[in-house]
Amino acid sequence: MTTTETETTTTPTIQKGYVGQNVPRKEDRRLVQGQGTFFDDVKRHGMGYVHFLRSPYAHARIASIDVSAALELPGVYGTLTGDEVAILTEPFFQIAAEPGANVRDYALAVGKVRYLGEPVVAVVAQTRELARDASELVMVDYEPLDVVVDARKALEHGSPVLHEECGGNISYSGLWEWGDVDKAFAEADHVVKISELHFDRFNSTPLETNGALVEYNRGTGQWTLTCNNQFPGFAAIMMAPALRVGANKLRFVTQDIGGAFGNKITTHPQLVALCLLARKLGRAVQWTEWRTDFHQSMSHGNERWFLDTEVAVMADGTMTAFRTKALDDAGAYLRYEPLGGVIWSQVAPGMYGWRNLRLDFTQVMTNKAPCSPNRGYSRMQQLWFTERIVDVVAHELGFDRVELRKKNYVQPEQMPYETPNGCVYDSGDYPRALDVVLDLIGYDTIEERRKDAAARGKLLGFGIGSTLDSGTNNFGQSQLLNPELQFSGNNEVATAKLDFFGEIVVTLGTVPQGQGHETTAAQIAADILGCDVDIIEVRAGHDDYWNSHAGFSGTYASQFAVTGLGAVKGAVEELAHQMRTLASMVLQCSVDDIELAEGFARMKENHEAALPFMALGAIPNMNNAGFPIDPPQMNARFVFRPQFDVPDKEKKFGNLTLTYSMQIHACVVEVDPETGVYEIVDYAAVDDCGVRVNPKIVEGQVMGATAQAIGAAMFEVFAYDDEGNLLTPNFYDYHVPHTLDMPPLKTAAIETPSPFTSLGTKGMGEGGGGGIHCVSAALQDALMTSGRAIVTSSHNPYHRVWEMIRHPERSREKVEVVSL
């Protein structure tokens, strides 16, 4: 059902050993036995269950709240309202400069609700059922307000305003321009105009929803949060000031997490509510979000319009410039936003060589669920946009889509390539990757297959989606949005120690959610220590008490293979040095005479002179008398820090990410012209993420991202009606693809190691955009003979395809070609 091919261009930069092998995952045993520990599996004596009463209105004033009836119900422990929250906490820190900086965001709605599903009151009771019963007794008197759900309308004068203190609905706006755009358009042979493109709203809907068990220690004033937040560093930065405590008072603990994909970064409002309740009630409180709550209130992917786009094209197909107005819809609050307003610029030109770009970016707030990172965060929208441009240009000017791409791709000999905005694409061979994917999918047979499909009354279409997966953020880019911010660079932490009986224990600051960190970290460690991978224990999950985390610790934005493994490599190399040093002290030789191999520290020249790890572990811990100087402690902590500068805030210029993985996807669709129903009948994806520490894990990421892309392209959308009701609040209407919806898949990989990372690795896992692009392109190709509709949306369910066939003019009128 899936076939895999791999070619390696260069050998990895460190010794072959476990690195590069499909080492079975250490995580698997407990997970297949149902012995994983997810947050909802953890209980405490006498804990109370929390239910959030949520707003049934998308926009309303809260006239009054009466919890008395709920409190009278036997078994109810207590409640929390917005009025209390406003007294007990500071509004959350806002990343935005003016006007977004004025947003006042709290753990619960204060005075007003701004989206349907917004938490208004928290109720705590002895059982889950009881908490919900009690919430039904809470009387909330709402005064409904007019609603705005369309970003374009939110800009209009007289539109309902969500946050009066912002003086309108705009959270951020800025002009991003590089090169000489007007000159490029003046010299262009053709200008292709696309009046409107729309990237739809969806997210990755991890199967495990959000939640936490929160305990408050009255003696130490510290909270312990057993949760599934994937970026504790960010959560602490948001929560500690709000709670008026230091970050040292917040201990985050995770073990197994049921998927996150960026969607579990912005849970800080609910976590703060839980902290307040645990303190108020003097007991552990537990909250498990439901699916409907998640859909209505949590972490939607950024919805984005691209308006009045123009592309400058030369007669030979060289694309020299684009200009567009991007309109981003952040939803009701700016939890992680407006960072989406800069993250896209990591891949501003996509995979193409144009040097002249103008993007006028505006982000607005609407009465919909707040946005926050979602796999491919903000880059996916930009990459879909650049891919749409390429296919529309080809479609309207009659260029071959393959040749047009090859001509305009950044070329391998240009690597490392500096983009017009100062980002550096570290390595890659895009034209070759395209050849590989075309070969996988049998591009040379497409026309025959098209005829065959036509004979069956089907419209066949073929599409390509090229996508970048930029990893290891330079958080300095946040200063391009708000010069006052004091964030820059990046980091990750690991510790490695040799324990009493020779056990090797590695801890990470990362917060894995299925990426196999325990396994890949062990592979790196075992290679360095010259021992069996099985004797390496990598602690599962995250715990602030390990002292192996820093401000940017977490698992997000494709960085583990660089920052996480970089930290592991640093810590384990330090431990190895300590082990060799101790061995040299015992064996009376120089450190350089000692090697670590086969589970021993031994003399290179005389393998009989060897100390087992057990001895090395025991000496400093339990048998350290008689050493003239202290034996090494067998305990190392390493902070990995990628080299970054703060970008130029005036020119919006600088390197924003360290590595650029690449994926190219291609698919073949067959459309039923009568119903618009279509099927993906063939699919291929090629991935290049540099050195692959564990190829099967990498392929798994490619497959998962592909499946999510197919879902977003065909089925998954957070759609709202004019009153702000979410029309897809559960897996019944929000259809997630299942086994029978999956096309056959062929994958391949090429490895062009990153010159900028110690292992030659690149972060990866967010390449799913390629799938959304190639489905859009394939549909547009399929409709060539049936009205030549242009695909202007990222989400193309059957009814939209049917409409494109029935009313091609509706999309045709959005595109225009001016040839000079």
Partner: protein, 160 residues
């Protein structure tokens, strides 16, 4: 004379071979009975509409979604959860999931395993299509299913 409806009921359920006698509110879902009352937390909850299959268990030998069954409906029945699949040793199916990288976060895995195990009981060497049909009621957001289907087909071949 009709029995009188009750809102609390003593249920007797055999779970993974152990018989439990428990008084439960009649509104309690089987999945909460397993997770909260019996502390068998391998059975997971991924949705609230009976769509995702993470809570799949065997009820008298057939796979069902334990979030769409009341605990009282299981009175007198035999339930098998993922904890009851194998012993210390992994079953060939569990091993195959690991061998084929058929899990990432592992949250859907117990439900997947229960659906797949039921299929293999009925059809020891299923085709790819058989497997897809058997697993259609189980959502996975990490793997895209390809490796899961391969793992089950391979486990079947091994058994056949």
């Amino acid at each position: 004379m009709a029995t009188t409806p009750v809102s609390e009921k003593v249920v007797t359920v055999s779970v993974n071979g152990t018989t439990y006698e428990y008084e439960v509110p009649t509104r309690r879902l089987l999945v909460h009975f397993l997770r909260d009352d019996l502390a068998l937390t391998g059975t997971h909850i991924g949705c609230d509409t009976g769509s995702c299959g993470a809570c799949t268990v065997h009820l008298n030998g057939v796979p069902v979604k334990s979030c769409a069954v009341l605990a009282v409906q299981a009175d007198g029945a035999a339930v098998t959860t993922v904890e009851g699949l194998g012993g210390e040793e992994l079953t060939p199916l569990q091993q195959s999931f690991s061998d084929h990288h058929a899990l990432q976060c592992g949250y859907c895995t117990p439900g997947m395993l229960m659906s797949a195990a039921a299929l293999l009981d009925e059809n020891p060497s299923p085709s790819e299509e058989d497997v897809k049909i058997a697993l259609q009621g189980n959502i996975c957001r990490c793997t895209g299913y390809w490796n899961i289907v391969e793992a089950v087909v391979a486990a079947g071949k091994g058994a056949a």
